[in-house]
């Protein structure tokens, strides 16, 4: 990359990526504007499925934002030499994903122009209100953390900042899981297990995003990840996948054991015979493609020729979306049991499994958030030195 031609092509690639990310972001903003003008009637959401596809995107990005910081924590807090040079990229991705996720969440509000109300009126019994502080605090802590890593004079503060970020993101993901965990009304949620489940899911999803971005950066710079480094990251991701699957199994087993939860669990895991997508998404999407396949690829290097690590990570992300779709949409599709032991009908969908089909504004808004995270990452990587320098001898594991 020392020649003028190389530098020119490098610059062209950057602008291509930045423009692509920018266009997707603008498309997301346009979809949000369309939704604001016409109301949520233009989406697939209704009074039964009140949180739709945008929440799937937003919660994926917010949970992954917490998990992606794992790499930095392992490096700064636990002093692992393989992870230390990756800490800045990990911090940048955290900020980018948090921004993308919050953008989707805010623009999906019924009154997005009142976001200032959310910043000035707090109800401290609301998990959402806690999260307003948790998200903004996270951004501030990670910004300081990045500063301590880049500014040589403050390098000594990097470890305390890293510890603060580690603690904060545990609390943050507890908060995200508790958005659902504290909902006593719905059979799909109301479980204290959701907080630790979301923390463990965040580890896997965040590391998967990190691995994909790192692979793209290495490919762009014509570099190859050292096999030992690849092996370490693969094993760690496999461990996170297994831990996530374990908690998901415990969650569903508990529900299956409770007689009052049996109908709901059967609906999610086996279906109700009306062609609802949730069992297929759970078993084929989350368990098989999102967990078993990448698990095998990660543990047996022979199963992942070529760019196997990022491909396995892509499967993990795919599984994450399948999991969240089943969890968020499937959880709402199951009717509330206001009259247990009764068959019920009404004009308001009582007693019926709700159907949901996301429409284009929801897809565009969700993808717009991903575009914003992509754009921020691209610009960040260009402006500051986020490239992991693990070809240095001291970084060898």
């Amino acid at each position: 990359m020392n020649t003028t031609a190389d530098s020119r092509s490098d610059s062209r690639n950057f602008w291509l990526l930045a423009v692509a990310g920018g266009l997707v972001t603008v498309a997301g903003l346009a979809a949000a504007h369309f939704m604001e003008v016409h109301g949520h009637a233009v989406t697939g959401m209704d009074n039964q499925i009140v949180w739709g596809l945008p929440h799937v995107f937003a919660i994926f990005m917010i949970v992954a934002a917490s998990g992606v910081l794992n790499v930095a924590s392992i490096g700064s807090v636990f002093g692992q030499p393989l992870y230390k040079p990756r800490a800045p990229l990990s911090g940048l991705l955290c900020l980018a994903l948090l921004t993308g996720g919050l953008m989707v969440l805010m623009l999906d509000l019924g009154r997005p122009e009142r976001v200032i109300v959310a910043a000035t009126h707090y109800n401290f019994t609301s998990v959402f209100a806690w999260n307003v502080f948790l998200y903004s605090g996270m951004a501030a802590i990670v910004a300081v953390y990045l500063w301590t890593m880049f500014e040589r004079r403050f390098n000594a503060w990097s470890k305390p900042a890293g510890i603060a970020a580690l603690v904060w993101r545990f609390v943050l993901t507890t908060g995200t899981g508790s958005i659902f965990g504290f909902l006593v009304a719905r059979q799909a949620y109301q479980s204290a297990l959701l907080a630790p489940l979301f923390i463990v899911l965040s580890f896997g999803w965040g590391l998967a995003v990190f691995v994909i971005v790192q692979a793209a950066m290495y490919a762009w710079n014509g570099r190859v990840l050292a096999p030992a480094a690849e092996q370490r990251l693969a094993k760690l991701l496999a461990l996170f996948l297994a831990a996530s699957l374990y908690l998901v199994v415990v969650f569903h087993l508990t529900n299956a054991y409770f007689a009052r939860q049996a109908d709901f669990t059967a609906f999610i895991l086996l279906g109700d015979g009306t062609g609802q997508p949730y069992p297929l998404l759970f078993w084929a999407g989350y368990v098989l493609l999102g967990s078993a396949v990448p698990f095998a690829m990660l543990l047996w290097p022979a199963a992942r020729p070529g760019p196997g690590l990022p491909v396995a990570a892509a499967f993990v992300v795919l599984g994450a979306f399948a999991f969240l779709y089943v969890f968020i949409i499937g959880g709402q599709a199951w009717p509330l049991q206001i009259f247990p032991g009764h068959a019920v009908t009404s004009s308001f969908g009582d007693g019926q499994v709700a159907s949901y089909a996301p429409r284009w504004p929801e897809w565009m808004l969700g993808l717009g958030g991903v575009g914003a995270a992509f754009l921020l990452t691209t610009v960040g990587v260009r402006v500051l030195d986020f490239m992991p320098q693990d070809d240095l001898p001291e970084a060898a594991p």
Partner: protein, 247 residues
């Protein structure tokens, strides 16, 4: 007049225009004392309803129609329409026993919607009525996720022809207000009733009784003392203001 003088007069005039309505509102608020029309909610009162499902006729939707008319709601029932009250036809699976049950916001003593609302837009008045402040609702729909009764609706489309006494807003969440505008404007609150209860009585069913649960002499208090009534999802311990008879 000098330029400085003009600016001074203009600023004073502007301040007057901006402040006067606020001063006027404070006067109005102070003038309305407890028990008079326009007075605030009193903690001495606990508004509630008793619904006798043995008197509610299957297929009759007079309460729903009255609610729609009173509050300016679109009577069409679509998957995105607001339905503040709905008739649920229930049939016990084991016994086949049937009943028709009007369900609306249950005006809980410990409302989950109020707990989860991030801005405090969902709130409970001193007199037990659970409302949504249309000025601070950001449309996050968390309250709809939290309500065990599916009592809340989200306004999915722009609105037209609103009732001045029942302000609504696109992108906000709303639900049964127990006809709070009637209560707050009533000269004698002991005689006030909701649109649904009024329509039910008019139809000859008399299945809905509205009143003050804290007043031992009110009809609703006498009834709940005399007959067995239940709360929906009593297992959740929310202390609903709406009770049911004959379930």
């Amino acid at each position: 007049m000098s330029r400085r003088g003009f600016l001074g007069v203009a600023a004073a005039g502007l301040a007057g225009v901006v402040l006067a309505p606020g001063v006027r509102l404070i006067e109005v608020a102070q003038a309305a004392s407890e028990g008079t029309p326009g007075a605030g909610a009193s903690a001495k009162v606990r508004w509630g309803m008793l619904i006798d499902t043995t008197k509610c006729a299957s297929g009759c939707t007079d309460c729903v129609t009255a609610c729609n008319t009173e509050n300016g709601l679109d009577p069409r029932t679509t998957r995105t329409s607001s339905q503040w009250i709905r008739k649920i036809e229930i049939k016990e699976i084991r016994t086949g026993r049937q009943a028709s049950v009007p369900v609306m916001c249950q005006h809980c003593a410990s409302p989950p919607c109020v707990d989860v609302c991030p801005t405090g837009a969902s709130f409970k008045r001193a007199d037990g009525i659970v409302l949504v402040d249309r000025h601070t609702c950001i449309g996050c729909r968390y309250c709809m996720m939290a309500c065990p009764y599916k009592a809340r609706s989200f306004v999915h489309e722009p609105l037209a022809d609103q009732k001045p006494e029942v302000p609504r807003g696109k992108g906000c969440v709303e639900s049964c207000t127990l006809c709070v505008h009637r209560i707050d404007h009533a000269a004698d609150r002991s005689k006030v009733t909701t649109a649904c209860a009024e329509a039910c009585t008019k139809a000859g069913h008399g299945a809905i009784v509205f009143g003050d649960l804290n007043d031992p002499d009110s009809e609703i208090s006498r009834r709940v003392r005399a007959v067995r009534s239940t709360q929906l999802r009593a297992d959740l311990g929310l202390g609903t203001g709406v009770r049911y008879e004959g379930l």
